[in-house]
Amino acid sequence: MKITFKTNQITCYHCGDKTVAEPVVVDAHEFCCEGCSRVYQIISSNNLCDYYLIQNSPGLKVPLLSGKFNYLDDAQVKQRLIDFTDEQITKVTFFIPIMHCSSCIWLLEHLYKLDEAVVNSRVNFLKKHLTVTYKNKESSLRKMVELLASIGYEPAINLNDIETEGRKSADRKLIYRIGVAAFCFGNIMLISFPEYFGLDAFTKSAFSRFFGYLNMALSVPVFFYSASDYFTTAFKGLQKRHIGIDVPLALGIFVLFVRSSYEVISHTGIGYFDTHAGLVFFLLIGKWFQQKTFDTLSFERDYKSYFPVAVTTVKDGNEETMPVTNLTIGHRIIIKNNELIPADSILVQGEANIDFSFVTGETSPLPKVPGEVIYAGGKQLGSTIELEVVKKVSQSYLTQLWNNEQFTKDNASPIQSFQQVVSRYFTFGLLLVAFGSAIWWLIVNPSLALNAFTSVLIIACPCALALSSPFALGTAMRILGKFKFYLKSPEVVEQIAEIDTMVFDKTGTITQPAESSITYLGELLYDEEKTWISSLVKHSVHPLSKKIKNYLGERPHLPTSNFTEFNGRGVEGKVVGNKIRIGSYAYIFPMHEPMGFSGENPDVLATRVYIELNGKVPGYFQIKHSYRNGLKKVLALFNLKYNLYLLSGDNESERSRLTEYFGDSDRLFFRQSPLEKLQFIERLQNEGKRVLMVGDGLNDAGALKAGNVGISVTENTAHFAPASDVIMDASMFEKLPAFIQLSRNTLRVIHWSFVISLLYNVVGLSFAVQGTLSPLIAAILMPLSSVTVIGFTTVATTIFAKNGGLK
């Protein structure tokens, strides 16, 4: 989240960042860097300065790139990415995760002003898609991507796009089915009105028969088109000897249609066509409500979504771009600043400083020396390095996780939903009543037997029951979505309600990213003293030195002599004749006992870096590394109801502190590899536990997948989250207990609404078994019960959410 300060601080006209002491000035606007001013010049020279009028500082920083997109000239890559192409034009859709405001839409839709080759460009903001049509003769896919990158909107193209062929087209079938059902339902109702009011003039005349046939004609598309899915799923279920809610539904729809048609053809009545069409319409609405998805989020991401498509290789001194899928052992690869290492490799030359935040969630980069193995998934920060590949991309330490059977098997949830359990009993009960009343009437009055039998099947058709789950779960999912707790599908609500064990990852999940806060505590430093410190730490590659340097801001560099770095302890040197030492407590005060952490706030884990200027220690820098807000409260609440575990890839340094939080030292596991995490979850499940996994990095991906529910915590939902059932914005961590409570309450709402729908069924059945179910009663009961259940579930779920603090 960006915080804007109302000060006189000059901000960059393009990206809104604070400008440095000497900003780049173009056309009387200040820019923070060369990149931003360059984008401004592109935009202004094309007369597109409206971009800056729609929103203040809408732009994005542009890193300098060259040759990065050469792989887009590859025919195979092109073919996978392009939607449509002919001799003249090519149409391609890009995913641009960084588009964020109306200015972005404006600029992206005026691409034709920047490049004449662009025929048309259209944004779908919710999906963050840009569809560009360009002329083949004047441009190419690579040029298009370079154009977008040059103005700060680099499309996200990754291995996944290349490996999977074609994009899924939107499924609109359900919408058509609903449209047809609505049309028929409305017209049948209209035509049935005379019957509802018992107008003799109509019912006794030729109109009655005409209306009957008309209704029948209107019901045909409902039966054969709109409702067809119910028959196929019910049939498939029966083949697998599995009775779901679809079986009684299909039975009801079938009996309704057949009996009504019989009545009309035999002139014995006008049938229940209105009930039939209404039933199908409501059911489809329920299905549609349940289908809600969060377009911009992808819940199926694996490492391929983050890995680059191509990498630069060196052979006999020649650089060459190669698709990463072709990388094999022995290849030499070149990794530049901010590029990802695609396969486990040995560092051959260069200064490696690897950021493993994709993998572990830990943001402090790790320095590596030549000869060390660097695992795939790390990002190089700093200078260019050369590596030798030792494992194939798919066989690396991290990526081999995806070869585990958890990722290949069909992921059917082991927990049966309430609806599945109920509908089995319901179906048997229904058949029992239907046959019972048929047999009874066969004995008493055989002419009514068939009537009673079919009436039971019609009236007991569990429409309301079928609607309760979709509406309750769908409402809960929408509410949770408002609080940045995004579910993959509504069914996840039910699975969350059923869990009894929770497993947390540490770094990045219950801790905040280490980039957090750095403060200086102690005597005030003079500006020149700050400059000395800045000049000294500039020579050090330690991450803490970099943080201190950033904290001190842009400063002139003074000559430094006698610089010495004591690995992991501190640095010393002379800046313009002043002796300066910077480092840990033990380094600065070697005679004293080591000091503990600050005791004021138990949620704060701080690292302190002391400074010594000419033999005096004026103070220290404190770098906070803290647990998430409210972690203590959240875990205390969970501890009452759930078994809590912690799985961390880190060392045990925080064991004692975390024992306080988790209550039991035996529940904390450190130094866990990604595969061990996955196996730990499986072990719990074998003990009959239903496990919720909360994690963040790709190293948790296996555990997230294996858990009954996997929640991935992410700082930015648009950027990064491994495959999981739920993607949660990290800022909402405090509300986790409320989310879980809402899920449990939603399940209770479903139970209650089941009782309500059963009551309606009992009333209807009392008519049906007597053989006195008139079309009018059916036509009233069915929509009434459906509407009651829809209303009850949505209102009750919303009230629960409000009471739970989700408002």
């Binding site: 409206d50 002003k113 903001f125 919408i175």
Partner: protein
Amino acid sequence: MSVMYILIGCSLFLALCALGAFIWIVKSGQMDDDYTPSIRILFDDLKSKPESTGDTKP
């Protein structure tokens, strides 16, 4: 009363037109994005003269 046949025929025909329009709208993708057009409509047309400044017409 035979006018009823014509009236019902008319009403059915009109309703069918509405259904057809609905299917056509969905098919043409107008329902796929219900957010971007609401922003797009607020953009002003590009000014024809390059030297004109930031005045925007409502």
